[in-house]
């Protein structure tokens, strides 16, 4: 907790510098010019999204193996942070697509699988809200979370497996892929900054989940005490009636 303020300040500074580097240090791209700089917010959003969903996947699997509540809390926290990062990717993508492709959106394999991914994790969060019993909620959502994660490799591989409107992979895309070294360094820094921000938000979201447990525990204690009181009351009535 003592480190909270300096860490937050450091990450805010990193984000500021990432913005500055994306707008002023990265070289201009030959065909798309300024609009290509969305790349430095768009790709880090997806890195944060996939990392968060991977954490959720590991936490969901760990919950099913151990039944420890901490894993359930981490799973839901990471899934929610992943949805936020996914939303960022889905907002910045069309803003880049419109001037370059002439359309905001197209139902190609990459965009469609990505939209399905967003819907899957929204459903995961909604599912949790529909189940009251904590154990059942954690188990069902862990199973659903593992199923939802199956779409992540599909999104990643979609522009390798099918012809898409979305550009071919820039990294690990085989011959002809890759970017200018300065662009690569700026992108690397932006990814690190956004990942650090994601971790900071994830820690906060996890603390929120811990508070939820505390509320549930205090409520249960209150309910058990009132049940005890009711039992004592019902036992005392016939005794009084006999007198």
């Amino acid at each position: 907790m003592r480190l909270r303020i300096p860490v937050t300040a450091l990450i805010a500074a990193m984000m500021m510098f990432a913005g500055y580097a994306a707008l002023f240090i990265a070289p201009d791209e030959k065909t798309m010019h300024e609009i290509q700089r969305i790349f430095y917010f768009h790709v880090p959003s997806w890195s944060a999204c996939f990392s968060a969903f991977f954490i959720a996947f590991v936490a969901n699997a760990a919950y099913l193996a151990t039944r420890r509540q901490q894993w359930d809390a981490l799973g839901v926290s990471a899934a929610e942070v992943g949805v936020v990062a996914c939303t960022l990717g889905l907002v910045t993508g069309p803003l880049w697509a419109k001037p370059v492709w002439g359309v905001w959106w197209t139902w190609d394999a990459r965009l469609t699988t990505t939209f399905i991914l967003w819907l899957l994790y929204i459903s995961y969060l909604l599912l949790r809200g529909l189940i009251d019993e904590p154990g059942k909620r954690a188990t069902l959502s862990a199973v659903f979370g593992i199923f939802a994660f199956l779409d992540v490799p599909l999104v990643y591989m979609s522009n390798r497996l099918w012809r898409t409107q979305h550009p071919a992979p820039v990294f690990f895309g085989g011959e002809g892929s890759g970017i200018d070294p300065t662009m690569g360094k700026v992108l690397g820094f932006c990814i690190v900054a956004v990942l650090c921000l994601m971790v900071l938000v994830l820690v906060d979201r996890y603390r929120l989940e811990r508070l939820r447990w505390e509320v549930d525990e205090v409520r249960q204690e209150l309910e058990s005490r009132s049940l005890d009181f009711e039992r004592r009351e019902t036992h005392s009535v016939p005794a009084e009636g006999r007198q």
């Binding site: 913005g19 707008l23 010019h33 300024e34 609009i35 700089r37 969305i38 917010f41 768009h42 959003s45 936020v84 939303t87 960022l88 907002v91 910045t92 803003l95 880049w96 419109k98 001037p99 921000l197 938000v201 906060d204 979201r205 603390r207 929120l208 508070l211 939820r212 505390e214 509320v215 205090v218 409520r219 204690e221 209150l222 005490r225 009132s226 009181f229």
Partner: protein, 46 residues
């Protein structure tokens, strides 16, 4: 600068979405802390 508006909107969206989300977490935490205090008070009285 051509298409500067879209670039600016994208940059603002990144900050705005993270900021709104962080504020929502803080607000939910505040509500839960208040609820815990109220429940503990009832527990103390009971």
């Amino acid at each position: 600068m051509k298409n500067f508006e879209n670039l600016f909107i994208a940059w603002m969206c990144v900050w705005a979405i993270f900021f709104v989300y962080e504020v929502s977490i803080a607000r939910r935490m505040g509500q839960l802390k208040k609820e815990i205090d109220e429940l503990k008070e009832r527990l103390g009285k009971g």
